[in-house]
Amino acid sequence: MTPPKTTTPKKPWTRAAALRAYEQMMRIRVFEEHANDLYLSAKMPGLTHMYTGQEAVAVGICEHLTADDTITSTHRGHGHCVAKGAAYPEMFAELLGREAGYCRGKGGSMHIADQENGNLGANAIVGGSAGIATGSGFSAKARGNGDVSVCFFGEGALGQGLLFEVMNMAQLWKLPVIYVCENNMYNEYTHYSEVTAGEILGRPQAFGMRTAHVNGQDINEVHTTAKDLIDRARKGEGPAFMLCDTYRYHGHHVGDIARDYYRSKDEEEEWKSTRDPINLFTAWLTSNFKITEDDLASIEAQIRSEAEQAVDFALNAPYPDDSEVDQHVYA
């Protein structure tokens, strides 16, 4: 579980890019605060899985991507969605099942997709998007357009045979796919070590795939490592597997409150207080650029006001018309 020590170059980004990365991480954090509130106040149907704590992974990687590059996401997908460029109003509307949502309210949190920004969708089947991401890489290669495809998944997806099948093909055919394993250490309510034999990186390495292991709480490290792997893939040098150690702050889903039987409060506290990706980046930003806590606070304030407006918008947006129920079954 200890990632190899890496030396992060002093300035992996320009000032503007760094601020944007900060903004994107904060955007995820704030989105989920509101989503959580909506759930707790019984305004959101169903349940949802919070990405909070893992922001550096999605943002560190997606900041390298254009709208033509694709990603696939998971049941824990808000972070990937925001990081890939989605807008608040359509996202909140989707979580609330409103017609104004990205999927006209038909997908919800577990299926949110944003085609225009290249997000091929969250997926409620663990590992279920591994084929889709690989196929998107196949398309990119077939058309030689230099696009890449990023497959985000939790370490629990290592249990799914599908992932092994497609990694073999990606490597055989040198497809531009980055497999990003977000190891937040829990498959629902079970520690991953209880259900994962051997070494995670041994799996992609068996196929001869390039791998990297990073501290997923350090966006600089994520970003720098991702750059190399993505560049390689764009050049046709094949896929890569990136293992990111990270942590989810909330329960497995919003309803998973009493969870000490599988995870201690101390462990949670430790991650939050010493390895928070936003705090770590804040410290780095303020010491490496002429950026003050105030600058960051005003970014945050702006985001919070956008969020409130978007929540308002979404709460007042209509549900899809009943007649929509049998639309979009077929194209």
């Binding site: 409620a124 799914q160 045979g161 498959n187 599988y262």
Partner: protein, 334 residues
């Protein structure tokens, strides 16, 4: 009327009935074990298995990796070699992942071996929508496995049936798949306390007697049918509610008998309508009761759409008591 002469009963939830059945069988037979994702300490996300690991330990209540095909396969192999595994598939939607192990392996091994090998495997999983869980966590896919010879398929609709069918499944020498309606876990009912309360697989249960129209309903739809029957009764229409309890084997005779008696029949099932369980039942009744029917057999089933997330849309996809009432009234007074 479902469980005559079964001795003392106790009021308990559907979830508790499942839990009790499993606990009793684990106690009775050392070859029984449970495996699945988060079945042990977590007792499954629905908490249906809570406490079992405390009594039986992690060697018999086993948390697995997220490898549905893999651990179902392990269950098949264990079943072939003297164990009686209960494999837990968290959502019925994940049947998609285990079809090869279930259909090409478990279902066929007894036959392909000329009757020599046995697969006494139980798979418990779920069905049912309206939990706002969207398209990949809301399906009712029992028609698929009911289509496959060699498998038995049970759909308990009450706590008592949940206990009796689970025990039957575990004691049966064939692979049996049990679908539990996620929304019924908190429903309460009288459950026989006997440790040998085992329901026969393949015997339908008349949940309510009536003379005017037969409502054949499965799983989640039994309560819908019973509610509809209540409303109909206040209009003077006496509906008979028949619960097949197992779609395979299907108790054709009881279904046909009821339809012959009433001359009218509606089949209500939460799977999709097209090629769903409702089609088989409707075909069986249409044929078997042909000369007695006063109206076509009608089907109410989940709409042929992926289950949408938006609550208003989702609620449209599943038959309601009002749908049943209006269909029944139309059949009787066309």
């Amino acid at each position: 009327m479902s469980t005559p002469n079964v001795g003392t009963t106790e009021t308990m939830t559907f979830a508790k009935a499942v839990n009790t059945a499993l606990a009793e069988e684990l106690r009775r037979d050392p070859t029984v074990f449970i495996m699945g994702e988060d079945v042990a300490e977590a007792g499954t996300p629905f908490k249906v298995l809570s406490g079992l690991v405390d009594e039986f330990g992690t060697e018999r209540v086993i948390d697995t990796p997220i490898s549905e095909a893999g651990f179902t396969g392990v269950g098949v192999g264990a079943a072939m070699t003297g164990m009686r595994p209960v494999v837990d598939i968290m959502f019925g939607d994940f049947l998609t992942l285990i079809m090869d192990q279930v259909v090409n392996q478990a279902a066929k091994i007894h036959y392909m071996s000329g009757g020599k090998l046995h697969v006494p495997l139980t798979i418990r999983t779920t069905l049912g929508a309206t939990r706002r869980s969207a398209a990949q966590h809301s399906q009712s896919l029992h028609a698929w496995v009911s289509h496959i010879p060699g498998l038995k398929v049970a759909l308990p609709s009450t706590p008592a049936d949940a206990k009796g069918l689970m025990k039957a499944a575990i004691r049966d020498d064939n692979p049996v798949i049990i679908f539990e309606d996620k929304l019924s876990f908190q429903e309460k009912g009288e459950v026989p306390t006997s440790e040998d309360f085992v329901l026969p697989l393949g015997v339908a249960d008349i949940k309510r007697e009536g003379r005017d129209v037969t409502l054949i309903a499965t799983s989640s739809m039994v309560q819908v049918a019973l509610e509809a029957a209540k409303t109909l009764a206040s209009d003077g229409i006496e509906a008979e509610v028949v619960d097949p309890r197992t779609t395979s084997p299907l108790d054709d005779a009881t279904l046909i008998e009821s339809a012959k008696k009433t001359g009218r029949c509606i089949v209500i099932d939460e799977g999709h309508r097209r090629y769903g369980a409702s089609a088989e039942i409707a075909a069986v009744v249409s044929d078997g009761a042909f000369w007695w029917l006063d109206a076509p057999v009608r089907r109410l089933a989940a709409m042929d759409v992926p289950i949408p997330f938006a609550p208003n849309l989702e609620d449209l996809t599943v038959p309601t008591p009002a749908d049943v009432v209006s269909e029944a009234v139309t059949l009787i007074n066309p």
